[in-house]
Symmetry: C2
Subunit: 114 residues, 2 copies
């Protein structure tokens, strides 16, 4: 699926939060998981800006650990604020996606034949 960039705005951060909530992980791995999910065009730089924002907003704890596969990794875990943020994200997602699906499938009104 190409050119879904704009549609990912406002949801990619939530996806990253969800991935982190499943257990300690780091930027590069998060990117790979998003790509596996189907968002194949997501690159490291994009995820980096998101994790930086999470750091800045104090939604994550950070621990730097060495890796045998390359340079040290910055591992993220959600803190309480991050957990709360994630729950709010899913509530917003449920709301927005249900409304859009409603629009998509709604019986046409005003006597329109369908």
């Amino acid at each position: 699926m190409e050119n879904i960039t704009e549609m990912l705005k406002g949801v990619l951060e939530g996806c990253v939060l969800e991935i982190i909530s499943r257990g300690e992980t780091y930027g590069y791995e998060i990117t790979q998981q998003l790509r596996e999910l189907g968002f194949t065009d997501v690159v490291e730089g994009t995820v980096y800006t998101i994790t930086m924002r999470l750091e800045k907003n104090n939604l994550v704890n950070i621990e730097k650990k060495p890796s045998t596969m390359g340079p040290p990794r910055k591992f993220y875990t959600l803190n309480a604020a991050g957990q709360e943020h994630l729950e709010i994200f899913w509530k917003k997602w449920d709301f927005v996606s249900s409304k859009i699906d409603e629009l998509k499938t709604k019986i046409k009104s005003k006597g329109e034949v369908i």
Copy 2:
């Protein structure tokens, strides 16, 4: 639901296209329909920028008609390109929303107990 702005980026235009596809309508009425849908904070200016973009991209036909309720209305209908654009939008939406729902509900992997 407050502060869903960012989540609407990339989908609001599609919603407007869908609303127009159901029959000739104009900016002010589109705004009201979006508000009725549940996107209560959408204002005329926002919809205007979208309809302007639709015009610029030649996705709509335009007809100006007088109104007894106020100034003349600019009625929009979808042309063939607009119809096609709408179909692509729904395909993208189905893809993205299914992937996000998948992430939301996916069984936790890597031996994580759920």
